[in-house]
């Protein structure tokens, strides 16, 4: 008998618009030592399904309408509050997506680790502390005796996720539910955390339910995969079946959306050829020795803290007209700051930004205004980058009217044309941002960026907040627009596969410095810098066989000290 057997689980949400069938009769099972991955896009019901098992969804509006969830023979859905509390703490543990918000900032991690032990196992404080130190060591935290008294903000994102894992494992659960545990993390950290989960699972023989939107991640960790769409499991089977013997249309679509390989038609004539034009053309934008430093004023008014953060530290690069330059780096590498420094959105410390022969750093803000029309930005979060109180019309008309590119008479026509350009329905012109999905919002944002007919567009992680199928659509939209309007683009991303898909040339940033620049092909086939190599090897591939191979080599690299209890 499997450890957990879920049968016909159905969860509804009662909203004002009617009943939403978030989970619509799904069945799956998972056994000890096994990893089941539930894959789906946002809104597919994958998280709701798992939270329903532990009754962690808000009721009302949520309601578990039907189904059975046998955990070691007991039905979780019928269990009373007290039993559930026992099970939650002891037998089933959850790791959440965002390690930044899941730890209480006012308690030391030790305090948070021993809490369940004292509560559920009525251990003494001393025993519990001892156990907490052991488990912190086990998840790979160096000097656990010292770190146990640290507060969450003293840990980095990856380390915090390790603490979360330690918290989940401290009560020796039989089932671990991981809800997108690596989505908020950098790719190199992601690889470490995935390997850690895998290693701990092997050692403790626990069952893992792994919720993810990322098929490439799943390929590496899962034994079984269930693909969810609109509250239904459309396909489930072994990981090899799903990847190599795909049955369902939706799964095929998901697999096809993963950006892989180079930009379509990169070799066809007419498109940009970096080698040829870099010799002939004058670069549209060139940056020389750019430094952007921030002062950390955390000391307060009287006691100025003189710590300087070198977000961008002596970066020089140039972009040819018509080129898409990919800028890659992990969070905190300064890539976004570089983008903002180019647009003079943050004050530059030193260096020059020469755009079409003009040094932008020397311009006053009044002189900058006509330049701003020629360079635009697409932001990461389509939810934050649109003014919630402005309709699509207002948002798109603002740059046109402000820069005198349209008159009151022609502006509606021009806005409609823009909407056609970015693939928005004309009827949506008077809607507000909240009435759109993430992908459509990003289309509005793209529309705003190209409204002034700029020459240079800086795209700051424009697709990282989107689902994989939507991501592919937006990338294709951007490529089409670049072609149509002859745009030059700096495409900032942490996702190497996205950059590989879209960029002609790639620059890699690490700790504020540019470590390597090269054409996409050469960078991927023969990375020169050590950091680039590390970054490339950490990318998960949507291919189970290759992932297994990679892990064989990686497990050997895990230091002995971390796997000792």
């Amino acid at each position: 008998m499997p450890l957990l057997e879920v049968d016909n689980l159905t969860t509804h949400f009662h909203t004002r618009e009617g009943v939403v069938q978030a989970v619509d009769g799904i069945s799956f099972s998972v056994d000890r030592g096994e990893t089941l991955a539930i894959v789906g896009e946002s809104g597919s019901g994958k998280s709701v399904a798992c939270y329903s098992l532990l009754k962690l969804i808000p009721q009302p509006p949520g309601e578990i309408v039907a189904g059975r969830a046998l955990f070691e023979g007991k039905d979780l859905l019928q269990a009373d509050k007290k039993t559930l509390q026992q099970i939650r703490g002891n037998d089933i543990a959850i790791i959440f997506q965002d390690p930044m918000t899941c730890l209480n900032p006012y308690l030391t991690v030790g305090e948070q680790l021993i809490e369940p032990l004292i509560y559920h196992h009525s251990s003494s404080r001393k025993e519990a502390t001892q156990r907490a130190i052991e488990i912190l060591g086990e998840v790979g935290i160096v000097e656990p005796e010292k770190r146990i008294n640290s507060y969450p903000h003293e840990f980095s994102g990856g380390m915090r996720q390790r603490v979360m894992i330690a918290m989940a494992l401290i009560t020796e659960p039989k089932l671990l539910i991981c809800d997108e545990p690596t989505t908020a993390l950098d790719v190199t950290i992601q690889a470490q955390i995935l390997d850690l989960v895998k290693a701990l699972q092997l050692k403790r023989n626990i069952a893992v339910i792994f919720i993810s939107h990322d098929l490439a991640v799943v390929a590496g960790v899962a034994d079984k995969v269930a693909v969810m769409k609109d509250g239904l499991i459309v396909e489930q089977g072994s990981v090899d079946d799903i990847f190599y013997n795909t049955q369902h249309e939706y799964t095929k679509k998901l697999l096809a959306s993963i950006p892989e390989g180079a930009k379509p038609g990169a070799s066809s004539p007419g498109t940009f050829n970096p080698d040829a034009s870099s010799i002939e053309n004058k670069p549209l934008l060139s940056i020389n020795g750019l430094k952007t430093h921030f002062h950390d004023y955390s000391g307060g008014w009287l006691k100025r803290n003189q710590k300087v953060i070198k977000a961008v530290d002596d970066v020089s690069l140039s972009i040819q007209p018509g080129e898409i330059l990919g800028l890659v780096g992990e969070s905190g590498s300064g890539k976004s700051t570089l983008g903002r420094s180019i647009l003079q959105l943050v004050p530059v410390t030193s260096g020059s930004v020469i755009f079409d022969g003009t040094d932008l750093t020397q311009l006053s803000s009044a002189q900058m205004k006509p330049m701003r029309r020629r360079m635009q930005m697409i932001f990461q979060d389509p939810y934050a980058s649109l003014n919630p109180r402005m309709t699509v019309f207002d948002t798109l008309a603002e740059p046109l009217l402000y820069h005198g590119l349209a008159t009151r008479k022609t502006v509606t026509e021009q806005v409609l044309a823009l909407m056609d350009d970015v693939g928005l329905a004309r009827s949506a012109i008077r809607k507000y941002p909240h009435e759109f999905s993430g992908g459509q919002r990003q289309r509005i944002a793209v529309g705003r960026a190209i409204a002034t007919k700029p020459e240079l567009v800086i795209a700051d992680e424009p697709v990282s907040a989107l689902d994989v199928t939507i991501q592919a659509q937006i990338l294709d939209l951007i490529l089409t627009l670049v072609d149509k309007h002859h745009l030059t683009m700096l495409f900032i991303s942490h996702d190497l596969s996205v950059v590989r898909y879209i960029a002609d040339r790639i620059a890699v940033m690490h700790h504020g410095k540019l470590v390597e620049t090269g054409s996409t092909e050469s960078l991927f086939s023969a990375p020169q810098h050590e950091y680039t190599q590390k970054l490339l090897s950490a990318i998960p591939v949507a291919d189970p066989a290759r992932e297994r191979e990679r892990q064989m080599t990686l497990t050997k690299l895990i230091p002995e000290s971390t796997s000792e209890i």
């Binding site: 004002r16 930005m377 980058s385 109180r389 603002e398 409609l416 909240h434």
Partner: protein, 360 residues
């Protein structure tokens, strides 16, 4: 500045003989009664709102869905809609807010026309009648000098509404601009501007009033100045807090990269997004300003008997509450109705100005 001058209006009041030497106990009692009443209103209002909340939201929900289908059905209009046009459209769907607006408009019209429609003069006494309960001649009764209560409430509304709206608007304009500029400019400008607010906060209100009187003497315009001077401080703080979180949002950065001027960004992107808390705070400010006026009038700043205002009527009503309850009841009811109307209108405006309100 000497004591008798401050106490002058009190001794000149209708209860002249009874409490000549007991200014402070009376003052305290009055303050306590006012505060208590104010909290009572708020409590009742919250209770009513929470009872009707479900109904209101469902109601709004159905209205909003109609609104959306209607909008989808029509072709895009020639000119774009502004936030305000849209807000007016949404406000019209909200019956409660419309009723509130109606009541406020009605009161304003009555206040404007009072000299022509009032049944008696505000200082017309009938000492033989004395304090009489409501009757056919005096619908709301008379006070201890035999003055008609309805007339006095009507005349009182001129002062109270004027103080309520003008002083609040002054506070609103100064507070919102000050807060937005401080929050958006940041750094030193912000520090200096907000420290100034702190200093004004720290100045005791009573001393401030006394100072004003020393410099300018008794003047109704000082009333606005005094009230405006204290009310905008909180508004500025609220708005600054909002702007601080807004200016880090990407849509503001997007506006900067579009090359918009600072003033355009403040006007189009920042202020509209601070409106929610601002409107709620404004609707709470108006009634408290009306009560503040009574307090100031009592201190000798502002209006003097035999002129009347709601606040003054209430505070005198409190004193004779046990003997002549109608002297408290009717002014109290008028103020309560105004307060309810303002709150419904405020809630309606807040929702109407937030395009997202229909979904959540």
């Amino acid at each position: 500045m000497d004591q008798p001058q401050v106490a002058a209006p009190a001794t000149g009041g209708p209860l002249n003989g009874t409490s000549k030497n007991a200014l402070f106990p009376r003052l305290l009692r009055q303050l306590r009664a006012q505060t208590l009443m104010y909290y009572l209103y708020t409590l009742v209002l919250r209770a009513v709102l929470s009872c009707t909340h479900e109904k209101i939201t469902i109601f709004k929900g159905t209205m909003m869905s109609k609104h959306v289908t209607l909008k989808n059905g029509i072709e895009p209009a020639e000119e774009g809609t502004s936030l305000w046009q849209d807000a007016w459209f949404r406000l019209r769907q909200n019956t409660f807010a419309l009723c509130g607006l109606g009541v406020i408009l009605f009161l304003c019209i009555v206040a404007l026309l009072t000299p022509f429609i009032a049944p008696y003069g505000y200082e017309q006494q009938n000492l033989l009648l004395g304090a009489a309960p409501p009757s056919a001649e005096h619908w709301l009764g008379t006070d201890i000098f035999g003055r008609d209560m309805l007339t006095r409430i009507m005349y009182g509304s001129r002062v109270s509404l004027m103080v309520g709206f003008i002083a609040t608007s002054v506070a609103l304009v100064i507070g919102v601009l000050w807060g937005t500029i401080a929050g958006y400019a940041g750094g030193r400008v912000d520090a200096v501007m907000m420290r100034l607010v702190d200093i004004l906060y720290a100045l005791p209100f009573m001393i401030f009033i006394v100072l004003l009187m020393v410099v300018f003497g008794r003047n109704i315009l000082l009333l606005f100045l005094a009230i405006g001077a204290v009310e905008w401080l909180t508004m500025a703080r609220i708005v600054r807090g909002q702007v601080l979180s807004l200016r880090r949002q990407e849509f503001v950065e997007a506006a900067v990269s579009l090359g918009l001027s600072r003033w355009t960004i403040i006007r189009r992107h920042l202020i509209p997004n601070t409106l929610g808390p601002v409107i709620v705070y404004t609707t709470l400010t108006i009634p408290s300003v009306m009560l503040l006026e009574a307090f100031l009038s009592f201190l000798g700043l502002g209006i003097q008997p035999p002129q009347s205002s709601w606040g003054l009527l209430i505070s005198y009503g409190v004193e004779t509450m046990e003997e002549y309850p109608w002297l408290l009841l009717f002014p109290g009811l008028t103020l309560s109705i105004t307060l309810f109307a303002l709150n419904f209108l405020g809630d309606g405006l807040r929702d109407a100005l937030d395009p997202r309100a229909s979904k959540n």
